[in-house]
Symmetry: C2
Subunit: 267 residues, 2 copies
């Protein structure tokens, strides 16, 4: 059985009821800190085991403190409610005795028959050049190392490849695992936090944009292949911004939505 | 000192550290169940006291089971992290020995100087007729009693007053407290859950739309007066939908964003 990097590097081991150990691998860093979506993926992994359901239909993460790369972490989980259709869980990640992430997630089963019922609405996919016509996000960006590009292949739509060039707070491109791991519902919360902040397309690389809260709704299990993603900010003032995201699979089906509240620390 | 209904009917009493008592008043019902935004307001009230900060900058609520109207409830709170700029808290609401709501919230101070920094972006306000030219949401809707209209004054933009007539999944109107209580940051998560589901404007009143998860970001303290609100669904399939909302004060300033994942139970 293939050992995919994402699965190996988000593995969790149950120590006792509701207590788990994991390790934050530096290969998923942005600079010297673990990517927030990656750190949350370890929590989602533990909560998925606890819930006994495969699909995280909504996941909210509060980022309390940065994670510490290349170090073990302890995860605490709680089964909040186990229903017929939905299982609600909570989790937290701790390193050096301090809580760093807190998460609420509801799990369900998105394997159901294609659209049934009298109504369906969907956001049409973002119009992007094919991945081979989009430049890769490189492993270094204005002096900041991006180890995460050793794990995720990110192709930026050309108009967004240069910070500040697009003239609006939007970014779009393609993402997939570099080692060929198939994209599944569990990967989507990670992919929703893997692109540079949309606001950089408007302002240039103005500083650091730490996430305070990120919520991802997974809407479908994705078809095999690349994920197309678009992120945009319409709401920024006094150093706080809201960034919305939409993710589609290669068939054009909407597979996830995201929204985060983040700080814009200029300087 | 005026006793406003919202403050009296979301009052919380601390029983011991992290344990509070409240009461869910039937005046805030939709049918025979407490409105979700109202039930969450009691949690926000307790968390605000715990956090020692006035403004809920982001609040995520998972709705596990309906609340029970006209009955006491117990609230459990946890101080997750107390930072210089942000205080993170968690809370849950229990009745009849069962947990019914689980909440994560970050509090801050939105009283700061008007927009500073080099950048600001905002969503322009929805274009609505003046409140006096919009019909009130009545206390009964196709046989369902709406006691909440004894507490909130809801004025629907005329094109959305009749379910199914607008032909798109959008609804908009004005909201304020009926007793004249000023709108503040604490009221906005309630107002974000006070309108009929946007999907009714497309499909007619198709059934019940229970919220699984609702996240509200409060972006500014509102100016006195009415709140204009718009809600829209672009993403509905297999009985699950995402509804986005935006709220503005009477000066046209964006004061809150909302997004919820809900089920569409036709029947």
């Amino acid at each position: 059985m293939t050992q995919w990097q994402f699965d190996t590097e988000t593995a969790v081991q149950e120590l006792s009821a509701g207590r788990w150990r994991t390790h934050l691998y530096p290969a998923w860093n942005i600079g010297d800190k673990p990517n927030g979506g990656y750190a949350a993926a370890t929590l989602i992994r533990a909560m998925t085991r606890l819930a006994g359901r495969e699909d995280p239909v909504t996941v909210t993460t509060h980022y309390l403190r940065p994670g510490i790369a290349d170090q073990d972490a302890e995860i605490h989980t709680e089964l909040v409610r186990s229903g017929r259709r939905t299982v609600n869980t909570a989790a937290s990640l701790h390193q050096d005795g301090k809580e760093r992430l807190r998460c609420l997630a509801a799990f369900g089963d998105l394997s159901g028959a294609p659209d049934s019922g009298r109504a369906a609405l969907s956001l049409p996919p973002v119009d992007l050049p094919r991945p081979e016509d989009c430049p890769s996000r490189s492993g270094k960006d204005q002096g900041i190392d991006l180890p995460i590009t050793s794990r995720l292949e990110l192709r930026m739509a050309p108009e967004y490849a240069e910070p500040g060039a697009a003239g609006r707070a939007e970014i779009a491109g393609w993402v997939r695992f570099l080692d060929g791991r198939p994209t599944d519902a569990a990967a989507l919360p990670l992919f929703a936090d893997a692109f540079p902040p949309a606001v950089f397309s408007l302002l240039g690389r103005v500083g650091w944009v730490p996430t305070l809260e990120l919520t991802v709704q997974v809407r479908r299990r994705p078809a095999p292949g690349w994920i197309a993603a678009r992120f945009h900010t319409q709401d920024l003032h006094n150093g706080l911004l809201v960034e919305d995201g939409e993710l589609w699979d290669e068939t054009g089906a909407l597979v996830a939505r995201s929204r985060q509240l983040a700080m814009l620390l200029e300087g």
